[in-house]
C-alpha cells in the first residue's frame, strides 16, 4: 500500500466543493513565514506557479471535484517530511490571497507524526534521533 501524506476533513471537503463550483479546479500551497504563514493557501489551478523548488505532497480526493493537489516548497518540506497533514477549516478571516477568506472561513493544516510503518513505506526510516 502507498502512504498518503495529506488528507482532508469532511468540513474542508464541503468548502472545497463550493469553492470549486465558483472558481474551477483548485490547489493548495502550504505557506511559511509570518502573519498568515504556516497555513495552507488555496488557489484556482493556474494562479500560483509551482516549480522545481516545490514538492507535490499528494492530491486530496474530494467527491464531485477534480483532485486537489497540495504543494510545499522543497526547503520547507525538509522540516515537514516526518509529518502527515490534514487540511481542515475553522472560522476566520483573511489569509494572504487564499480563496476561502471572504466566506468567513480559513483552511488550517493539522499535523500528526507519521508512524514507523508509514515512514518505512516512504523510505524515511531510520527516523532522525
Amino acid at each position: 500500500m502507498s502512504t498518503d501524506r495529506v488528507a482532508v476533513t469532511p468540513a474542508a471537503s464541503d468548502l472545497l466543493r463550493s469553492l470549486a463550483a465558483r472558481h474551477g479546479p483548485l490547489m493548495f500551497h502550504q505557506s511559511g513565514g509570518c502573519c498568515d504563514g504556516s497555513s495552507p493557501m488555496c488557489y484556482p489551478v493556474g494562479m500560483f506557479m509551482t516549480g522545481p523548488g516545490d514538492v507535490l505532497l499528494g492530491a486530496l480526493e474530494v467527491d464531485g471535484i477534480d483532485p486537489v493537489e497540495v504543494f510545499m516548497s522543497r526547503a520547507q518540506f525538509e522540516y515537514w517530511k516526518y509529518t502527515h497533514l490534514t487540511i481542515d477549516v475553522v472560522d476566520g478571516r483573511g489569509g494572504g490571497f487564499s480563496l476561502e477568506t471572504p466566506e468567513g472561513k480559513r483552511f488550517l493544516t493539522r499535523s500528526r507524526m507519521l508512524t514507523d510503518a508509514e515512514l518505512s513505506d516512504l523510505g524515511l526510516m531510520p527516523q532522525r534521533q
Binding site: G33, C34, C35, M47, S73, G92, R93, T101, T109
Partner: protein, 513 residues
Amino acid sequence: MTIAASPTTYAAPGEAGSLVSFRPRYDHFIGGEYVAPTGGQYFENPTPVTGRVFTEVARGDSTDVDRAVQAAWKAFPAWGKTSVTERANLLNRIADRMEQNLELLAVAETWENGKPIRETLGADIPLAIDHFRYFAGAIRAQEGSTGEIDHDTVAYHFHEPLGVVAQIIPWNFPILMAVWKLAPALAAGNCVVLKPAEQTPASIHVLVELIQDLIPAGVLNVVNGFGFEVGAPLAQHPDVRKVAFTGETTTGRLIMQYASQNLIPVTLELGGKSPNVFFADVAQEHDAFYDKALEGFAFFNLNQGEVCTCPSRALVAKEIYDGFVADGLDRVRAVKQGHPLDMSTMIGAQASNDQLEKILSYIDIGKQEGAKLLTGGERADLGGELSGGYYVTPTVFEGDNAMRIFQEEIFGPVLALTSFSGYDDAISIANDTLYGLGAGVWSREATTLYRAGRDIQAGRVWENTYHQYPAGAAFGGYKQSGVGRENHKMMLDHYQQTKNLLVSYAEGPMGFF
C-alpha cells in the same frame, strides 16, 4: 522605549467616555473622499478583545482597485513635482496630528488588533510618529550626485519618484506597518494605493480621518477587502510601478510572480524564526544586565508573539542552562494577561480566531513531536466579555532544533527552547532555519557579540537588547525572509528611479561619423 505603566484602564470604544468612536461602517478612501464599494458589499470586523463585531468595512473588488489606481495617477503629476520641502512639511504635519491624538490612536489600535494598550501607547504609535519625522528629514537631506566622467563629460544623477505604488499591509501592526511603507513612499513623491489587512481594516481609517485634510486628494488611497478580491488585483495591476508586501512566503512568491509579468520591483518582508542566543557569561553575575537578559528571554510575548522577528527560538548555553531557564520561566510566568485596555496588561489577545486556532494546532504538534511543555500551552479564558476573545497563555517548549515548532513561524506567544555547547554550536543552530530576519545575541564580551552578530545570517541582529525598532536602523531579511530594507533612508531607493543625465560639454564631435 521604556515602559512606565500607570494603573489606568481606557474605556472600550462604544462605552461611555471612550476616546474612540468607530463609525458603524468604513468605505474606501479614494481620490480624497470616502466612496462606497462598487459591489455594495461590506464585511464585519470583530475586535479580538471580545470577539464581537464593532464595525463593518467595504468589501472591495478589482473595479475599486482600478478606481484607486486611476485616482492615484491623476494626483501624481502634481504630487511628483512638489518640492522636498513641501513633502517633508506634510510628513511633519501628519506626525504632529498623530502626536496630538496619541491616546486615541492607541486605543483604536488596541481594540482593532488586541495588543496591550501599553504597547500601542509606548511603541506602535510613537514609532509611527517618529517614522514620518525621520523620512521628512531624510528626504530633505537627500541629494543626487554628479560624476565628472572626464573634462568634457558630466553624469548627473537625480532621484525621481516611481509613480503609483501598491502597499499590502499585515495585521500585526496595522498602523505602524502602514506607516513604515507610507512614509518613504510619500517622501519620495509617489502616490499610494494601500490595502489594509482584512483582519484589521478599521484602525487605519481612524488615522486617515485624522489626517485626510492634510493630504492632497489621490495621493493616498485605501481599498479594503480580501486578499483574493483586492490584494491580488492590486498586486498584478499593470499601472502599478512597485509593490511592497509584508506577509508570508507563498503570497510573497505570488507577488513576485505578478511582478515578473509587469517587470516591476517588489519589496517583501516575509517573517522568520528568530534565534535569541544567550552565551554563558550572561549569568556570570546576577546583576542589572542579567535582569535585562531575562527580559530578553520573555520578549517572545511582545505583541502576543505576532511579530515577524519574534525571538521564538531561545538558545541557552549548556553551562548556565538550568539556572537561567528557571529564572527565565519565572519571568514568563509573571507576564500578566488581561484586558488589553488595562495599562497593567502585558499580553493581550491574538488578532483573530484563525490565528488562535493555528497557534493551538502548533502547540499540539509540539507535544506530538515530543517537545517538553515547560509552561502555558493552552487557550486562556479570561472570563466575562473576554471569554469571546482570542487569548493564549505564554508557552515555552523545550526540544531540539529539528522539530517543526523550532522551524515554523507560529506567530504566537510560543517559545521553542534548546541548549548549545560552545560558540560554533550556537551559530550552527541559530543559522539552521529557512529564514533570516531577526536574531538576538546576549553576552558581556564585546568580541562574542561582534563575531556572533556577523556570523548569524539575519538582517537584524539585536545585541544585548531585543524588539527595538527605531527609525534609522535598517530592517529586512536574509534567506527566505524577504527582499529589501525598511525603516531606514535606504528604503527611499526602493521608491525611487535614478535619472541619469549624461552631458557632453565638448565643443566638437566625437569623430566616429
